[in-house]
Amino acid sequence: MILFGILALLALVFAVFMVATRNAVHSALFLIGNFVILAILYITLGAEFLGLAQILVYAGAVMVLFLFVIAYLSAGTEASETGPALAWQLPLGIAAGVLSLGLLLWGTLGAVLTPTAAPPHFGSLAFLGRALFTTYLFPFEITAFLLLAALVGVVVLVRDER
């Protein structure tokens, strides 16, 4: 419980810094920090595979691509400044944020929780594999199509014109 508190706090700190920092590379690195904490949270909950997959896929692959693109596009330049055209959006954004936070707080504080015990070995690799290839086989296959569509879509959007 204490461990969870520390990790949760750290994850929050990373998330806040990620949004607050002006430097895109730092922002990406804070996000990675957040992902790593999240992975540790998964592991403390007994889902080791999920935690490591999170690191492998997000910290190791997705964020590397992020950093790659950031470094590629903005090497040496500082983060963009907020122009005057966007100034009026700031109060609106704050209002929307406060509203969402209020809604979530209202929801969380008034929540009626009925904890149910997780099935044995929940989160283990064997459990996950079995769930993916039996119960959720169909969504799993659809995910394959989803990735294919994303792949084709990206090629369509970025390829050179003949």
Partner: protein, 316 residues
């Protein structure tokens, strides 16, 4: 309660000493071997056969000035060498040197090594970016492109092994090869793994991120002193790791007749390391576009074919 933590701490200390010693030894090993292959003696002044040369190098590096480039991103510049080394060290934690000779026997050990070691790529990009130098940046970008491209065939080639062994626990994988090394039925996977692992650890002929003739020294151009030593350490740790995984996953791990398991493990690992150094002495560096298209168009399909074959044989 205190017992497991104590054990872990002791294991960590021993591992740290081992990693340092191995890296130092590997530096000597490589220089000596390259020297022999190029018909020259190699280091031979400090200690017997030049064996203490790395010690002298380490001493030299620690007393050297730690230079921070102007307009560098200071916190990131300082953090990057650690980000490179810590994952490499963390990966050693699950490495079994013999039956039971392992700091933490995770049931997903192989995945742990793969996951943790990917974090190093971030360090290379961060180092390249934070240095505020075009050579370093180009080196970091190349490292990212290369490591992402070769990560995929690397992982896929190991999936064949995992499929055949039915576990991600390294001990189980070794046990599953009691009768036949996986390198024999999965020769395709083994070849893909060796190539991809060489590329993952940025070794020649895939050492583009630090190609001297074009990028000075790549991502660590601006680094000096101890911080440089950390990158060095990380690189040699990965060479050892790559060879160790090849041993565990394809060459039957520590199993072998007569000699004690640890010796077998080290002998096999060093044989693989010898092969990797041999490659460096023999092959010229390839171009970045060749490197990427080779990774995606040749290695990736081959590793998929390997998985398919393994699955097919297991199914039958």
């Amino acid at each position: 309660m205190g017992q497991p933590y104590l054990r872990l701490a002791a294991a960590a200390l021993i591992l740290a000493a081992f990693v340092l010693g191995t890296a130092a030894f590997l530096v000597w090993f490589e220089r000596k071997l390259l020297g022999r292959m190029q018909v020259r003696p190699g280091p031979n002044r400090v200690g017997p056969g030049g064996l203490l040369q790395p010690v002298a190098d380490i001493l030299k590096l620690t007393v050297k000035e730690d230079i921070l480039p102007e307009h560098a991103d200071r916190p990131l510049f300082r953090l990057a060498p650690l980000m490179a080394f810590v994952p490499a060290f963390a990966a050693f934690v699950v490495l079994p040197f013999g039956p039971g000779l392992v700091s933490a026997d995770l049931n997903i050990g192989l995945l742990w090594i793969l996951a943790v070691s990917t974090v190093s790529v971030l360090a290379l990009i961060a180092a390249g970016w934070a240095s505020n130098s075009k050579y370093a940046l180009l080196g970091g970008m190349r490292a990212a492109a290369q490591m992402i491209s070769y990560e995929v065939p690397l992982v896929l080639s190991l999936i064949g092994v995992v499929l055949a062994a039915g576990s991600l626990r390294l001990g189980r994988i070794v046990a599953a090869q009691a009768h036949l090394w996986f390198a024999v039925p999965q020769v395709l996977g083994f070849i893909v793994y060796l190539i991809a692992a060489t590329a993952e650890s940025n070794r020649s002929p895939f050492d583009l991120p630090e190609g001297e003739s074009e990028l000075v020294a790549g991502f660590h151009t601006e680094y000096s002193g101890v911080r440089f030593a950390f990158f060095f350490l990380a690189e040699y740790s990965y060479v050892f790791l790559a060879a160790a995984i090849a041993t565990l996953a394809f060459l039957g791990g520590w199993s072998g007749p007569f000699l004690p398991p640890v010796v077998w493990f080290l002998v096999k690992t060093y044989a693989v390391i010898f092969f990797i150094i041999w490659l460096r002495a023999t092959l010229p560096r390839i171009r970045i576009d060749q490197l990427l298209s080779f990774g995606w168009k040749v290695l990736l399909p081959l590793s998929l074919v390997n998985i398919f074959l393994v699955g097919l044989f297991r199914f039958i």
